[in-house]
Symmetry: C2
């Protein structure tokens, strides 16, 4: 918590001295981890990218930057990696396109920006942030969101930039399974890839951001939970959450806001609130996935009910941690 230097002014270094909060950063790269498909090479690359994302965000926080900048920088690294279902590594829609969604929220002011269904925006999180900071709106979709992107100088790329062989093959397998009317063997990978970050900065302010390619073989311009403020992304003065799960269930549960409401109105610790929603509310509806959740005292949790969730954190001790499977690391 922020402790202003008022009562014992003689101990202050200056009139504006503020005792800084110890910053915390937590990230995820999606809960769509399938244990049997994790090769040593893939694991090595994923861990390196998660560490790079943590470093990028932490550099901002250590130098006194905002949680908003920290989550943005961390997400940029994950969007630029082909390993995660967001930005460069986004999955393919039924029609063989990449359709990107993102949201960002500033806990201190409750400002938010979200975009869905863009095809040419290199870094969707930058467009979500531009919607928040440079438009009168919160939520833009499709061609309109791309038209807005052009007016504010957001980098656009050719659609082929998002074409990775692994994702293309996943679509082919999903289409094949669909033709055979089989439940896809890629079930988890289909629903749960996403990247996200939550941060607490030295000023004691929280922020959250999420970015995703949605689900493989999605159609009809389906929007998942990531860009829905309150479902996949939410932050206020006490609590910040980014989710990665079967989006439809996270929307119906208003999962991110529900976690923060349990903290605020029911006085639940953040870990209990996050666990209740991820391990009880969402599964009872039929969905699964995970979240990263952080409170304004720097307490955080990373619950999930899938094989694993790509995740990492820099705790108040300043040390970097990365984990993939369920039995690895804390919290």
């Amino acid at each position: 918590m922020l402790l202003r230097c008022l009562a014992v002014a003689s101990l202050c270094l200056s009139a504006t001295f503020v005792e800084a909060a110890v910053p915390v950063l937590v990230i995820h790269g999606g809960a769509g981890v399938i244990k049997s498909e994790m090769t040593p090479d893939k694991e090595k690359q994923v861990r390196a990218d998660l560490e790079a994302a943590l470093k990028a965000g932490n550099d901002v926080l250590k130098s006194g930057g905002s949680s908003l900048d920290a989550v943005t920088k961390a997400i940029l690294v994950l969007e630029d990696s082909p390993q995660f279902n967001a930005g460069r590594g986004a999955v393919f829609t039924h029609e063989g396109k990449n359709e990107l969604d993102s949201a960002i929220m500033d806990g201190a002011t409750l400002r938010a920006g979200a975009i869905a269904g863009v095809h040419r925006v290199k870094n969707p999180v930058l467009l979500a942030r531009a919607v928040m900071e440079k438009s009168p709106h919160v939520f833009l979709v499709g061609d309109g969101a791309e038209a807005f992107a052009k007016t504010v100088g957001i980098e656009l790329v050719e659609p082929k930039y998002f074409r990775t062989e692994q994702r293309w093959q996943q679509l082919q397998e999903a289409l094949k399974a669909e033709r055979k009317q089989q439940a896809s063997a890629l079930g988890r990978m289909i629903h749960y890839g996403t990247v996200g970050a939550v941060a607490l900065d030295q000023a004691g302010h929280l922020a959250a951001a999420t970015s995703t390619g949605g689900m493989t073989n999605k159609r009809w311009n389906r929007v998942g939970d990531s860009p829905v403020i309150g479902a996949g992304t939410y932050a206020n003065t006490r609590c910040a959450v980014s989710a990665t799960g079967w989006g439809e269930y996270y929307i119906r549960a208003v999962a991110a806001h529900d976690i923060c409401a349990r903290v605020e109105y029911a006085n639940k610790p953040i870990a209990q609130a996050a666990k209740d929603v991820v391990m009880d509310v969402v599964p009872k509806l039929g969905g699964d996935g995970g979240v990263i959740a952080l409170d304004s005292d720097g307490n955080f949790a990373t619950p999930f009910n899938t094989d694993g969730m790509y995740r990492g954190w820099i705790d108040r001790d300043g040390k970097m941690h990365v984990a993939i499977l369920g039995d690895e690391g804390r919290p």
Copy 2:
């Protein structure tokens, strides 16, 4: 509340007898009422349409139908009227199109459906409901949502169906004000037109639905709060809410879910919870508007902080009430 006939079985008419809840229906036609613009003729038409919507929903409830069917039927009447900013009477976008959004939620099961940015769907609430009942998704937007509409036989109309002279003139005035860089005199009408309904049926189940044309002169495929589950539309087993306000602020406040979270976790009466969000949380962010909110005991509230809000209700006494300005009727 539902009282199952178990303890005094001898008084039951049959083994499956259930004491029915007294149904309640509350509707709104938007908080964009400007007192000085209310002519006697417009007022008469609005009141007649609100009464017709109440009757349509109440016919369902009285005959033992579901709250889901009741809110659907009530919204259909309001969408078909040119008086409200939804369906037929939708406002125009910057480009001179009508772009429709809607959502519906079933409190008993937390199932939900939402659509945004469709141009040819005669009754957006029917498409939202079809997304809920006939797709694996919750939220579809734009051309994809219309493509889905075709697969399930939802009625499409030519875009000219939505052209009403009043709305076209409102766009011209908004464009003129924009060119002069003036705050538009139509400020309220620009932001707050929407229709919504919440209902409690004899089985004790709640539902909520909202439908809107969004804001006059909107651009970039802007999505407001109406189709965002948790923001403009939400229902669970204890609480149902439909909002009509400056959508951006209702999204940032996750207004509908926040009202229900205050009821569930802070044990606030529904009227207090709705008032706190509408009269305090949203205005502090800079927005305004109103909501209709109903709990599972049949208590309800219709707070708003604009000149007026088109609204109506059929209370537990079975009587029909319609109101427009702030000082008229209860609650």
